[in-house]
């Protein structure tokens, strides 16, 4: 009797959760069905059922002429460059946190922390808008440089095809570095004070303490985040690149995520864009497994 009642209750609780499970299926699992579109000759007004099955046509279509190969190559190169830069400089938030901790005034430290984490909470559209206001031809940078006589003509920072990867990295860092540092700040707070004190008594100066105590103790945190970064190599997101893209930098700013969007909304159509995003997903899963394996071998544990 008792057992039955309990069972009944279990079903009742399940029924209460069911609507939300349906939502998850609708918004997270059902979209996977969209992958079928990559295998059909689908043109929007007609439903999928009337479209012709074309097998892997769109996958070979990506690569069937030299121009397309060159374009995809350029897109991959952009993705590689942007992700590569951020991995290359991934130590920056760590170092930022280490030296932030060297500010002795608690109030000032807190102020710096608040100010540098703020940009993380504004959208890419706002970042772009700020970039536009500060860097356009009448913006403060150009007018200061002009007043100092360094330049005669305003520099078009945003409407140019030069150093695009580096600029994108700079904006990403401006937005994220302060926030990324918080993880390390917490890790530093967890270091045993006695360890540092012992070093101090032995005559170590602050740089030595940083090098031999602080950094080694937060290195594991760094490695986990680094592996995660590498696993997400192909996913730069599209928002940042979408808002910064214009006719001048189009070639060098198109990362994979943006390329998929541009193809879908432009000439290529949905099936091709879907095919590219399937290709991306497959490579991403492989990357995730490989980095997880490397992490297991080098650190003794995986991160998933």
């Amino acid at each position: 009797m008792f057992k039955n009642k309990k069972k009944l209750r279990g079903y009742k609780e399940f029924l209460m959760v069911l609507p939300f499970i349906i939502l998850v299926i609708m918004f997270c699992y059902y979209p996977l069905y969209g992958w079928f579109y990559a295998f059909f000759d689908y043109k929007p007004p007609k439903p999928l059922s009337e479209a012709e099955f074309v097998g892997l046509k769109w996958f070979s279509y990506m690569l069937d002429t030299p121009t397309k190969r060159a374009q995809l190559g350029q897109v991959l190169l952009n993705t590689l460059a942007v992700s590569g830069l951020s991995i290359l400089f991934s130590w920056f938030p760590m170092i930022f946190a280490v030296f932030l901790n060297e500010i002795k005034s608690k109030k000032y430290r807190k102020f710096v922390q608040t100010a540098t984490t703020l940009p993380n909470f504004i959208s890419w559209v706002l970042v772009y808008s700020i970039a536009y206001c500060v860097f356009n031809s009448t913006g403060v940078i150009n007018s200061l440089l002009g007043d100092m006589g360094i330049i005669d003509k305003p520099i078009e920072f945003l409407q140019s095809s030069e150093h695009v990867w580096f600029k994108m990295w700079l904006w990403l860092t401006w937005k994220n570095a302060g926030w990324a540092a918080i993880m390390y700040i917490a890790a530093i707070a967890g270091i045993d004070e006695e360890l540092k004190e012992a070093a101090r008594v032995d005559g170590a100066n602050r740089m030595q303490i940083i090098r031999h105590i602080t950094i080694p103790s937060i290195l594991p945190t760094y490695l986990v985040l680094l592996f995660l970064n590498i696993a997400n190599f192909l996913s730069n997101g599209m928002e940042q690149f979408f808002v910064f893209q214009n006719n001048f930098n189009k070639d060098t700013i198109q990362v994979l995520d943006l390329y998929v969007y541009n193809i879908a909304m432009g000439s290529g159509g949905y099936p091709l864009a879907t095919a590219i995003s399937i290709f991306k997903s497959v490579v991403s899963i492989i990357l995730l497994c490989v980095t997880n394996k490397i992490s297991k071998v080098t650190r003794g544990e995986g991160f998933i």
Binding site: Y33, Y37, V140, W174, I182
Partner: protein, 326 residues
């Protein structure tokens, strides 16, 4: 909050320690030249970083309250000149902006309420061991953190579901957010079992227990979830870009993007607002493309600027718990 405490107690301990050691005079000597140089460099460099992060906001704000004519020539860098508030008055008269502000506000308020309510409820329900196949459903929801279909498959299927050009596209997809559910579940698990058991012995049902026992106790984590989700809703841009055609459903973010990119629509706005105000509007106060862009930027960023410093500790707490879990 946890982190702040740890840091501050660390410094206090140090101070105490140094005081105790004062008589030895050993510590004083330890402040070598290299340590002082380090301090100086650190202060200079971090002041620079802070400046880089704060100045752009200040710069735009100062320009919106200064003479538009000077501002358009790029003459305002630090101090406001010829103070006026006409720009804000002008901007308030753009009908599209008011509509967009309403949509942004609605989606932020509604979206946050829904997300928080669902996270709290599911976070609690998934701690109930009696639920039929509980682990299966929980894993099914958490798994969605690690994959997504990609924007185009997502776009097509949302269209099939009839969410194209529909206000619900702002609310429903984020309603069940696995990360927030995990946060809430962890928190509920830390509540002593006796509390809920006692309520149930007194005859309270599942929902009653949730509402009158669980919700009051997990308020701190709900605040964190609410703040994160509100900022996310306010900043969201991609869903409007992909799924919305109807101008009445534009959000502030999307409108701002249009204003920066479409000089022509902005020009029309400028002309309208100069016609609307008196013909004798002085050059310093007349709307320009720059002034509208900057003023709208400030209007869109202002809620974040106000909210962020006040609630910073909630944000920090959120990432800390997340880091421990992930």
């Amino acid at each position: 909050m946890g982190k702040e405490k740890v840091i501050s107690s660390g410094t206090e301990e140090k101070i105490v320690y140094e005081k105790q050691n004062m008589p030895k005079k050993k510590h004083k000597r330890k402040r070598s030249k290299s340590d002082i140089a380090l301090s100086a460099i650190v202060y200079v460099v971090y002041t620079f970083f802070t400046f880089v992060c704060v100045y752009p906001f200040y710069y735009i704000f100062v320009n919106t309250i200064s003479s538009n004519e000077l501002s358009q020539r790029g003459k305002i860098a630090f101090w406001p000149q010829e103070f006026h508030l006409t720009n804000y008055k002008n901007v308030m008269q753009i009908p599209a902006l008011l509509d967009a502000a309403k949509i942004s506000l609605y989606r932020t308020v509604l979206g946050t309420i829904v997300t928080v309510a669902v996270a709290a409820f599911l976070g609690y329900m998934f701690t109930r061991e009696t639920m039929w196949k509980r682990k299966v459903w929980y894993r099914m929801i958490v798994a969605t953190m690690y994959f997504n279909a990609g924007i185009i498959p997502w776009f097509i299927t949302m269209k099939n579901l009839g969410l194209y050009d529909n206000f619900l596209i702002y609310i429903l997809p984020t309603a069940v957010s696995p990360f927030y559910i995990v946060l809430c579940k962890t928190f509920v698990e830390s509540i002593p079992k006796e509390l809920t058991d006692a309520a149930e012995i007194d005859g309270a049902g599942t929902l009653r227990t949730f509402w009158s026992i669980i919700v009051p106790v997990i308020k701190p984590i709900l605040a964190t979830v609410a703040i994160f989700s509100a900022v996310g809703q306010w900043n969201s841009f991609q869903d409007t870009l992909l799924m919305v055609i109807n101008k009445k459903l534009y959000t502030l973010q999307f409108l701002l993007y249009n204003y920066i990119n479409q000089a022509s629509s902005l020009k029309a706005l400028v002309n309208n607002s100069t016609n609307a105000s008196s013909v004798a509007a002085s050059l310093a106060h007349a709307a320009t493309t720059t002034s509208i862009r900057m003023t709208v930027t400030i209007v869109v960023v202002a809620p974040i600027l106000f909210v962020y410093p006040i609630f910073q500790r909630f944000f920090v707490k959120g990432i800390m718990i997340g880091a421990v879990k992930g």
